[in-house]
Structures are given as C-alpha cells and as structure tokens.
C-alpha cells in the first residue's frame, strides 16, 4: 500500500463522525470502496500550492496556450461564477479548477472517462477578487491557464 493510500485511510479513519471513516477503521469496507474516498486533504488545503500537491500530485504548473478558459471578468455575484475550460491537448486525464484566494482554493477535479471530451462547464464560488486557475493533467504533466476575476459581492458567505 503506498503512502498516499495510507494517508487517506488515516484521514478517513480519523474523521470520527463520518460513517465511511468508522466503517473503514472497523475494516468493514472493501479496499475498492476506500480507494474511491474523497480527497479531503486537497479540498481542505488552504494554499494553492498545497491544494495542487494534494489534489494533483504536484504544484509544478506549465502555463499553456492550449488550455482555454472562459469566465466573465467582472461577475457581480461571486457566489455563482460560470467557468468553461477546454483544451486542444491530447491525452487529457483530468481537469481541475482552483480559485487562488478562496479559503480552500480547490473547487473541483473532473476525471475523464475514455469517451469524455476535454471540456467542462461548471459554476464556482469566488470569495474575493482573485485568479481562477484551470489545470489540465495530460501525459502526467500539469498544464494551466489563469484569469483574474473581479467580484463585487464575495461568494463564500
């Protein structure tokens, strides 16, 4: 079992209130179910670098003109900011969206099944004006683009 898995099992077991955590620590879950555990460390990371390392395995991003992001530059309401990410890169494994100054920068990671085209549209919360960063994992390397977004009303409540 590699370190990542051990850490995830430890985190899951230590979330005492979570049913999955209790079941996992009681050895009741099959390993296959535990492998599908939500990446708590990535979503709770409070810096961009930590969110990238936990969520995508690295914070080494290569800015690429092949990663495209459409987002309104001045959304009034930071609670609902539409982001559309697409890319012309081949072999895309996942697409992640982060908001640099959110208390927890990682918004979501989309893992592509073999049929899925490398584009996704979603709506995210932006707590204060910041860069939105789209990261495409292709060939085990991380390619990114970022756009500054200015919000009038912060989105995280």
């Amino acid at each position: 079992m590699n370190t990542n898995m051990k850490r995830r099992l430890f985190l899951k077991a230590s979330v005492a209130a979570g049913t999955v955590g209790m079941a996992a620590s009681a050895g009741l879950l099959m390993p296959r179910t535990v492998l599908a555990a939500w990446n708590e460390a990535a979503f709770k990371a409070d810096t961009l670098a930590a969110a990238l390392k936990e969520g995508l395995g690295s914070d080494a991003l290569t800015e690429s003109a092949e990663v495209l992001m459409e987002v309104p530059p001045n959304p009034e309401n930071g609670a609902v900011v539409p982001v559309a990410v697409s890319t012309t890169l081949a072999g895309v494994q996942s697409i992640a969206i982060l908001v640099e100054k959110n208390p927890s920068p990682l918004c979501g990671v989309f893992t592509l099944g073999k049929r899925m085209k490398p584009n996704v549209s979603i709506r995210v919360k932006v707590s204060e004006s910041a860069d939105i960063i789209a990261v495409v994992k292709a060939g085990d390397k991380l390619y990114s683009t970022r756009t500054p977004v200015k919000v009038t009303i912060g989105g995280c409540g």
Partner: protein, 105 residues
C-alpha cells in the same frame, strides 16, 4: 427515472453527446453564518459526481464546497445516440445521494 434533485439532459449531434445537468443542492461551505441566528450553517456539499453511459463511467468528479449552490454542469462525450440512456449520480458529505437517468435526444 424520477430524481429528487437532478435535471439531466443529453443531446447527440455529429457523433457526440452533450450532457447538461442542474443539481438542486445547497452546497453549504460550513463557513456561512445564518443571518437570524448568527450560527454557522453546517456544511452540506456534494463530494462526488459521476456520469455513466452503457455501464461505463464517462465522467467522475470530486467537488468541494466552493462549487456553487445548485450546481450546473456540462460536458461532452464521443458517441451516444438518440434513444440511449445515460445515468448521473452524486454523494455528499452528509451521506446523502441521488441519481437520475435520461434518454439521449
């Protein structure tokens, strides 16, 4: 399949199917204070979403609480034809879940 929270549409065109989903869910971060009581509203957010076609996962996503309330999501996959089915499901941090199926048009 009737779903309590997922409005799912899929349209096939030129060998590709575009999926659009609107999921009714509060996506509470756990950081918001209720205006009347002054208490923090407990977190309640979707953590996993998946969509499958012909028994094969087309997309799986891990989300955190900074995805907007009532998430709208759209993506495209190669293949699919009118009359075929797709399924989508989600699970949140409270143990709640839901799923829906839709016929591709």
């Amino acid at each position: 399949m009737a779903s309590k929270s997922i409005k799912l549409k899929a349209k096939a065109e030129n060998g590709e199917t575009t999926v659009k989903a609107l999921i009714k869910h509060p996506m509470e971060t756990g950081r918001r204070k209720d205006k009347e009581s002054g208490q923090l509203v407990p977190s309640q957010y979707i953590q996993e979403v998946s969509c499958s076609y012909q028994g094969e996962p087309v997309m799986t996503a891990e989300w955190g609480p900074t995805i907007s309330m009532n998430p709208f999501l759209s993506f495209t996959f190669t293949g699919g034809a009118a009359g075929e089915e797709i399924e989508m499901s989600w699970k949140d941090n409270t143990g709640d879940s839901d799923s829906a199926s839709a016929t591709i048009t």
